[in-house]
């Protein structure tokens, strides 16, 4: 087992990494919020989701967080009546991605908040280390 203070920095950075991946997925969803198919009746972009899992880091003996899987949202697509669209089906309806920008925004805020919390932990661990070093410097 490594030094607990070093371990906490390691754990918090695993959190930062996981949250960054989540933000990447959110931005992918937002960027593709209007990506339809090319051929008639083709499926549009499907929203992606991120799931996390707690994983034991054997070397450090601590539980870090990892991105378990980037899955797809099974929710039905939005449809829009537009017969002139290249991706319109025989009935004239176009399938649009099942991305809801409000949900993505909420997800982004949560990512932001978790990222900030992890940064705060790193800051605290660092200040504890520097307080210990100050013991040697002072007196």
């Amino acid at each position: 087992m490594i030094d607990p203070l070093q371990a906490s920095v390691q754990i918090a950075s695993s959190g930062l990494e996981a949250q960054s991946t989540r933000l990447r997925v959110v931005s992918e969803n937002l960027a593709n919020a209007n990506s339809t198919g090319r051929t008639p009746g083709a499926e549009p972009y499907r929203r992606k989701t991120t799931t996390f899992t707690a994983e034991m880091d054997r070397a450090a003996g601590v539980r870090v967080v990892k991105v378990k899987d980037i899955g797809v949202d099974r929710a039905p697509f939005r449809v829009d009546y537009d017969p002139s669209h290249p991706a319109a089906g025989p009935d004239g309806y176009v399938k649009l991605p099942n991305v809801n920008s409000l949900i993505e925004m909420a997800d982004m805020r949560e990512t932001n908040r978790s990222f900030e919390a992890n940064l705060q932990v790193i800051k605290q661990a660092r200040s504890m280390v520097s307080m210990t070093i100050d013991l040697l410097r002072g007196a």
Binding site: G15, A54, V121, M128, G138
Partner: protein
Amino acid sequence: MGPVYLFDIASSHAQWLSLRQAAISSNVANANTPAYRAQDIEPFSKILDSKVVAVAVTDPKHIATGTSLRAQGMRKENSWEVVHSGNSVSLEQEMLKAGDVNRDYSLNTAIVKSFHRMFMNSTKT
């Protein structure tokens, strides 16, 4: 002058605080992990109690007891909130705990520093 046990206690308290910081950072990192339960380590008073009855080490081959802290002291914590995914980490609570740890650590190092200064003063002059 009687023996001063301060440095021993202060160092194990510092060790305990850093372990607690590691537990907090594990909780914060897993704040969005489904089914993750928030954890905390044993309170320091419990460890202090176990230290008092520690067996004396009179030979270098003896194994010291009650002095080493382990992360097995992890216990399920009664959390403020449990969300629908089964995650019981409350970021507010964790930040509060991290603030506590930081303040205690600062107190700890300040005490050690001042006692050290006291010793140095008595040896130097």
